[in-house]
Assembly symmetry: C2
Homo-oligomer: 187 residues x 2
DNA sequence: TAGGACATGTAAAGTGTTACATGATTAG
DNA sequence: CTAATCATGTAACACTTTACATGTCCTA
């Protein structure tokens, strides 16, 4: 079983879902493609970690609602206490930032301004999401036994990281924009 | 060309390196394996983005010192101004954190304590690294045209993100440890 | 004397992305 | 009338990891 398999199980603990729904929920972790999710769900079903019911629909395509089994739940539970694999982060932007001395200042500035805009948008959405959670679940969010606690702390983490990315972008931009001003005075 | 190829080029802009050195330098981005680096360097050489000189050594294995070509440099330069691909972060720990309600409180606490320890160690090393850079390069670090500026801002970003991960771990631990105390009083 | 640093390579297996394939309903 | 949402699946290709392969010097 790979990480994605466990990610699917961890979602199904909270509630039964279709593959389509799982794809969207998994976005809190990373952006897995449906072409990876559907075959993996079949494999999970074969190994009896999940089961599904086929639901016929009119107007919409039929769907399969997957649920976690006891076998699946105990697998996930055991896996949690194992030491996690080291995190991997692949970010093309950081390579560009690293090589920024090769670009002219204007390119550098627009690179960072776009990154800043991207994360400001992410942060705004995140705040809305967390706000909705707080309205819907209230004190339940702070209850470590509740099945929304995990989701809540993950969202908070994302918020903090996004905020920090914004701070960093602004810090870098202050250097880049200082340079532009100096050039203007000299010309 | 893929991201790893550009990552290699961005390292070679600063200085000529062997594949072995590149593997270590690339760790600022992510942990690429040598089995991916060596064949890619060959391909880069075939396409004339890099060249190498064979250096014979005694006592140590021979090595190839790779340098970027003008063709490679201009490729990298053009690539920088293209919009970067969205970042991907795969982190098993976060799946475990998400499913934490399934584990008992003690498991949750040790999970987060180990994460905290890991990032405190990372942060400590990062501070040393940055300290060394500041000693070695001084004001050059704040010069956006200098070829250490990119490296410096990347390290600073990592520092901020690591610090934030620590804050978050402590915040989550405060909930988990509150629960343990409540249980003790009740028993 | 065991393990790490130095140094480069290939092969196989596993994981992830893009493209192909289908098709009704609803909102703009 | 065009794009998005719902919904699932396969095939080909690209990328990454693990394992196999070799060999000396130096440090604990």
């Amino acid at each position: 079983m790979n990480s994605l398999g466990y990610a699917l199980l961890s979602m199904l603990v909270r509630k039964s879902c279709t593959g389509y729904e799982l794809k969207q929920l998994l976005e809190v972790f990373w952006n897995a493609k449906h072409s990876q999710i559907y075959p993996l769900l079949s494999k999970l079903e074969e190994d009896e970690f999940v089961t599904y019911v086929h639901v016929e629909q009119t107007g919409k395509p039929d769907k399969k609602i997957y649920s976690i089994t006891d076998k699946g739940r105990s697998l996930l539970q055991k896996w949690i206490s194992n030491p996690p694999a080291p995190p991997v982060a692949r970010d093309e932007f950081l390579i560009k930032a690293y090589a920024i001395s090769l670009a002219d200042v204007e390119t550098g500035i627009s690179l960072f301004q776009e990154r800043l805009a991207l994360y400001e948008e992410k942060l705004a959405k995140r705040k809305v999401e967390i706000g909705l959670m707080e309205k819907e679940y209230g004190e339940k969010l702070e209850d470590i036994k509740s099945n929304v606690f995990g989701r809540y702390i993950l969202f908070k983490r994302k918020l903090l990281q996004e905020q920090e990315e914004i701070n960093w972008c602004k810090w870098v931009l202050s250097y880049l924009e200082k340079e532009v001003k100096t050039n203007r005075i000299m010309s």
